[in-house]
């Protein structure tokens, strides 16, 4: 239990100042190759070919990388103000008229505040609105007001909605045209700013609805999405030096889930199945995979790496990723304890 009347240990204050709970934190490690604003750049590229693409935001263009699009196509950019319900309603209206709106805000606001507008104005009519939301899961140290730790749990129950959770800059670049090609609403968990490039080392191409094995291994099967795929790929490399062989199945589409590939991989005997996600342990990829396995009669040893069912602490993102088990070190420790 947090006690706001307990004074902090000020002897550590010099070190503490090096860390920050700022809103915008990078998920990249110092040595990672990164690309700047992959979503915004990809949208600009797409817009050159697709005149029906428009951009909209609820006062968060800068923080969702949509400012890149707004600068390139000012007449196709709509500022809707800090009004997420209006953002979704108006996006539905533009989609009704044949446009493909990419609407951006933070994941907390889309999921918690605008849900009914996404459900009734957009999804119920299967309209072509693409919702791209920054700060998914635990990607800011700002505290629960901005940490969308349950966005997948909220959105998975919405009929017609496709949900994707890309891993890196390359995947975001590929996802943007795929979202536009898909007929119907899509929710994307957006990594913004300097986004690591990871998947170029693998024979990989993003397709909506397809999971893909990036690495094979015999002791552990990681099933992961979003930034956790980056983390488990690094963990798998380091586990190999401990003679632990780990496979990685990347599942960027949370809904509809690629059940066939999940069943085929998890059905191979002898591996510990670990679903790793940047989301609450309630209602995300882990429970979705568990359901698939149960329905298909696969009784694998099954574990979840996920955020606790709690409102999380504020703090520096690396501290929080260690604390809540999403860092590479934490993943290693957790998995070794399970083996």
């Amino acid at each position: 239990m947090r006690d706001k009347y307990r004074r902090p240990d000020l002897s550590q204050s010099g070190a503490a100042r090096l860390r920050t709970s700022a809103m915008i934190a990078s998920i990249a490690d110092a040595q990672d190759e990164t690309r700047q604003a992959p979503f915004g750049e990809a949208l600009v590229k797409l817009a050159a070919e697709r005149p029906e693409v428009v951009g909209m935001t609820a006062d968060l263009a800068k923080y969702t990388d949509l400012h890149v699009f707004a600068k390139a196509y000012p007449d196709r950019f709509y500022q809707m103000g800090m009004a997420e319900q209006l953002l979704m309603g108006a996006a539905a209206g533009l989609a009704r008229e044949g446009f493909i709106p990419f609407a951006t805000t933070y994941a907390v606001f889309a999921s918690r505040r605008a849900y009914d507008f996404i459900a009734m104005a957009i999804a119920e009519e299967n309209l072509n609105v693409k919702i791209a939301c920054a700060l998914p899961g635990l990607t800011t140290g700002y505290g629960p007001s901005h940490q969308a730790t349950e966005d997948l749990a909220i959105f998975r129950g919405m009929p017609n909605l496709t949900i994707i959770d890309p891993c890196d800059a390359l995947e975001i670049e590929q996802a943007v045209p795929a979202m536009a090609d898909h007929a119907g609403p899509v929710y994307m968990r957006l990594l913004r700013g300097k986004v690591p490039v990871v998947l170029d080392r693998y024979d990989y191409r993003f397709e909506i609805g397809r999971a893909k094995r990036l690495v094979d291994g015999s002791d552990v099967l990681f099933i992961s999405s979003g930034l956790m795929t980056m983390r488990v790929l690094k963990a798998a490399e380091r586990l190999a030096t401990d003679r632990i062989s780990a496979a990685v199945l990347h599942v960027p589409t949370i809904k509809p889930l690629d059940e066939a590939t999940i069943v085929a991989e998890a059905g191979k005997p002898g591996r510990l199945v670990v679903v790793a996600e940047n989301h609450s342990i309630v209602g995300g990829l882990g429970e979705a995979v568990a359901g698939v396995l149960m329905r298909n009669g696969i009784a694998a040893r099954f574990r979840q790496i996920a955020l606790p069912d709690a409102f999380l602490d504020a703090g520096a993102l690396p501290t929080l990723h260690d604390r809540y088990g999403l860092s590479v070190d934490a993943v290693m420790t957790t998995v070794k304890a399970w083996l």
Partner: protein
């Protein structure tokens, strides 16, 4: 801005006698549907019939045989429970065949009790989750402008929907984006689910509110066909560079005095034998 000067003379393609016929028939279709199910939001339908008559038979451009014709004016029904009224107007406009009246509210009907876009020709949006009509209208109006279409988007919402924050988000946005092709219609019948609307949320003075939000405002008796035609003409033709609203004060149950006089209620109970009595009363007073 608010209109205070006397209405400008306008030429009308259709005489008010003809509009009165339309309004009468809209009421009649609605009562026939209500009778099918023995229930329905009939008081609202009778109250809004004149507004719908003026919308569909005076103001709007559309093609009955091609409800999705690109050049049409859009009519968004935010208040899904007013579907019975809009179906009546769509039947009168020959967008829905009159023969479908007996299917109202039945399984597999194209006329479900709450209006949904996927079910009914001419039903532009899925309403019912109140407060969504005006936000959607913003996007439609932006889209019409992007396509350089001269069409208007009309959106009908209720005084109860003034409680919803999203209505006011949209009200500000319409002004921000200078949506002169957007015509809001508010049905002020001063009755929502839990009682008189003004007692539930203090939305008055409504005209000055919208005026302060940058709208061209007119407030009229929503059961006065002359006032409505004038207001709709001005809404369409005025040179105000922003959104327009016609606030319509209506009387629930209008056209059937014994229903009008009944204790006012959001969901008016009509006895089994009263439907035909209501039709008789309506028919007896039918316009020539």
């Amino acid at each position: 801005m608010t209109v205070q000067d006397p209405p400008a003379p306008v030429s009308r393609a259709i005489s008010n006698a003809s509009l009165a016929q339309r309004a009468y028939r809209i009421r009649r279709h609605a009562l026939l549907m209500g009778e099918v199910q023995g229930q329905g939001y009939i008081a609202q339908a009778l109250g809004i019939a004149d507004v719908l008559a003026v919308s569909y038979f005076h103001a709007m451009t559309y093609r009955a045989d091609d409800p999705e014709w690109e050049g049409r004016d859009r009519f968004l029904l935010s208040i899904g429970h007013y579907a019975i009224a809009l179906y009546a107007a769509l039947i009168e406009a020959a967008i829905i065949p009159e023969e479908e009246i007996p299917t109202y509210g039945a399984d597999d009907s194209r006329l479900p009790m709450s209006g949904m876009a996927a079910y009914t020709p001419g039903m532009e949006i899925t309403g019912g989750s109140l407060g969504q009509g005006l936000p959607i209208a913003i996007g439609v109006a932006l889209g019409l402008r992007r396509k350089s279409l001269g069409s208007f988007v009309y959106t009908l919402f209720s005084d109860g929907e003034l409680d919803e924050g999203a209505t006011w988000e949209a009200a500000m946005s319409a002004s921000t984006h200078r949506l002169a092709n957007l015509i809001g219609i508010v049905d002020v019948n001063n009755m929502q689910a839990d009682g008189p609307s003004t007692g539930i949320m203090a939305f008055e003075p409504l005209g000055p509110k919208f005026e302060a939000f940058g709208w061209f405002v007119q407030r009229v008796d929503g059961n006065d066909l002359d006032a409505l035609t004038t207001a709709f003409d001005r809404a369409r033709h005025h040179d105000w560079p922003g959104p327009r609203i016609v606030i319509c004060d209506t009387k629930m149950g209008r056209g059937v005095p014994f229903l009008e006089a009944r204790e006012r209620n959001h969901f008016l109970n009509v006895g089994p034998e009263e439907w035909s009595q209501a039709l008789e009363v309506l028919d007896a007073a039918r316009p020539l």
